[in-house]
């Protein structure tokens, strides 16, 4: 799966959790754009794990601030 496909999956899962979400600025912190609490964030990561079969350690959460960062992180792990 390439980065574009991963981006579609990420955006799809974000919108499942936050259906009100419209445009996402890829370089802006996600939590500034989407009202995500701890449970939403965990559900988002669980969904990505299920869809992409990629394990995301808790220690890596800090690397997942923006949409671009999430996509880059997952794309690197998918290789």
């Amino acid at each position: 799966m390439d980065a574009n496909e991963i981006r579609k999956v990420v955006l799809g899962e974000l919108r499942r959790i936050a259906p009100e979400l419209e445009e996402v600025a890829p370089a802006k912190p996600l939590r500034d754009q989407v009202d995500l609490d701890s449970m939403d964030w965990l559900n988002f990561l669980v969904a990505l794990n299920e869809r992409l079969q990629i394990e995301i350690p808790e220690a890596d959460y800090r690397k997942l601030g923006t949409l671009d960062q999430v996509v880059q992180y997952l794309a690197a792990k998918a290789r």
Partner: protein
């Protein structure tokens, strides 16, 4: 004859609208079975029955608004003989089998309250619809798409659900501030041990099994309340009524606006893994509009956590007729002095609003101290 009545699903509910029956005359029901869906100002709720017997008559019709305590159905108890028919009975209809209650964790067909309402207006059977919303919930859009190919029934203008919810919250909170003399206390709690323990736990776990700090906080609140019956229960008829169980209402903000605080039952008795699963399930169903009546009617205390929104501390309002509400602010590094050493440690401010008719600040302070002590030993939670 047993009367099954409209339950009170919270202090802000005077009446409920019966949306649909899940049973029909002749069905056998037992305690805990889901028998109806009732719309309250806050949500469409799956109503459980706490009596056993055979449904004799469905008194209320779908679409009817019934006051709390109004009769919804008549049941015949297991020992009661069936009433003799007034005239010779026609060929008896085959008796439908009783529906088993869904097993805990069983897959449920989730339907948002707005979608359920809209489906009724458009004549769409939501139970047959695949959902595209969060966790597969049927959304308004799904209903509208289905309705394009379905014959339309008489459409009514959709009521403003958000306005109804605000009205319900306004009524409950106004009553609280009018009737309950609140006292407020707060305590900063060092969370280094809890944070380290949680990190170590989550390192070993796949993402689907990870714990949130909120689960530890809920468990600690419930355990601390075991020694404080004057903070867990109700103020009714000018008297304290301690609750037999500790059913923690969890304040959950809804994406469309407003909030709801359904209960997790017997929190002190749940292991952390069970509690985390129950919490995740409750949040999911609250947001998908699929709560059960006992979850709405049973909270004996409420916990609200606004830490994710960045506030330092919460000064919450008690949900009547409960006796207390516990708030948590954000978990953040702060300067902390202990044993003559100063450093930056994760700290959370826990707050308590208590009903001064039932308890005093002294008791509230002891409760917060007990809560702080429990959070220093996360492995025992």
């Amino acid at each position: 004859m047993i009367e099954f009545k409209m339950p009170s699903l919270g202090a802000d509910m005077d009446e409920g609208k019966l949306l649909e029956w899940k049973v029909k005359p002749g069905d056998t029901v037992k305690r805990g079975d889901l028998v109806a869906v009732v719309e309250t100002p806050k949500a469409a709720v799956d109503v459980e029955i706490w009596q056993e017997g055979v449904i004799e008559e469905l008194v209320a019709k779908p679409g009817e608004t019934v006051p709390v305590g109004g009769v919804l159905a008549h049941l015949r108890g297991a020992a009661e003989p069936k009433e003799a028919p007034a005239k010779p009975a026609a060929e008896p209809e085959p008796r439908p089998e009783a529906k088993p209650a869904p097993a805990p964790g069983a897959t449920r067909h989730l339907v948002s309250p707005a979608a359920r309402k809209h489906a009724r207006e458009l004549g769409v059977d939501v139970e047959q619809l695949p959902g595209s919303g969060p966790h597969g919930a049927v959304t308004v859009e799904d209903v509208e798409n289905a309705a394009k190919g379905a014959p339309k029934k008489e459409a009514a203008p959709p009521p403003d659900k958000l306005a109804a919810m605000r009205k319900a919250i306004a009524a409950a909170m106004s009553r609280s501030k009018r009737e309950i003399p609140h006292y407020y206390l707060s305590q900063a709690i060092p969370m280094q041990r809890a944070a380290d323990w949680l990190t170590a736990q989550n390192e070993k776990r796949p993402v689907a099994d990870r714990l949130l700090m909120g689960a530890l906080q809920l468990k600690a609140v419930a355990l601390a309340l075991k020694d404080f019956p004057d903070l867990n229960g109700f103020w009714r008829d000018n008297a304290l009524q301690p609750a037999p169980g500790i059913h923690v209402g969890v304040a959950i903000s809804l994406r469309q606006g407003g909030l709801i605080a359904p209960a997790i039952h017997d929190v002190a008795e749940l292991g952390l893994d069970e509690l985390m699963k129950a919490l995740a399930d409750l949040v999911r169903r609250a947001r998908a509009g699929s709560l059960r009546s006992s979850e709405m009617s049973d909270p004996t205390v409420t916990v609200t956590n606004l830490g994710d929104q960045g506030v330092d501390a919460v000064f919450p309002v008690i949900y009547p007729p409960q006796l207390a509400i516990v708030g948590f602010g954000r978990l953040a590094p702060r300067p902390w002095a202990e044993d003559g050493m100063t450093g930056a440690v994760p700290v959370v401010v826990a707050s308590l609003a208590g009903d001064h008719r039932a308890s005093d600040g002294h008791r509230g302070a002891r409760f917060l101290a007990a809560l702080a002590a429990l959070l220093q030993e996360p492995e025992k939670l």
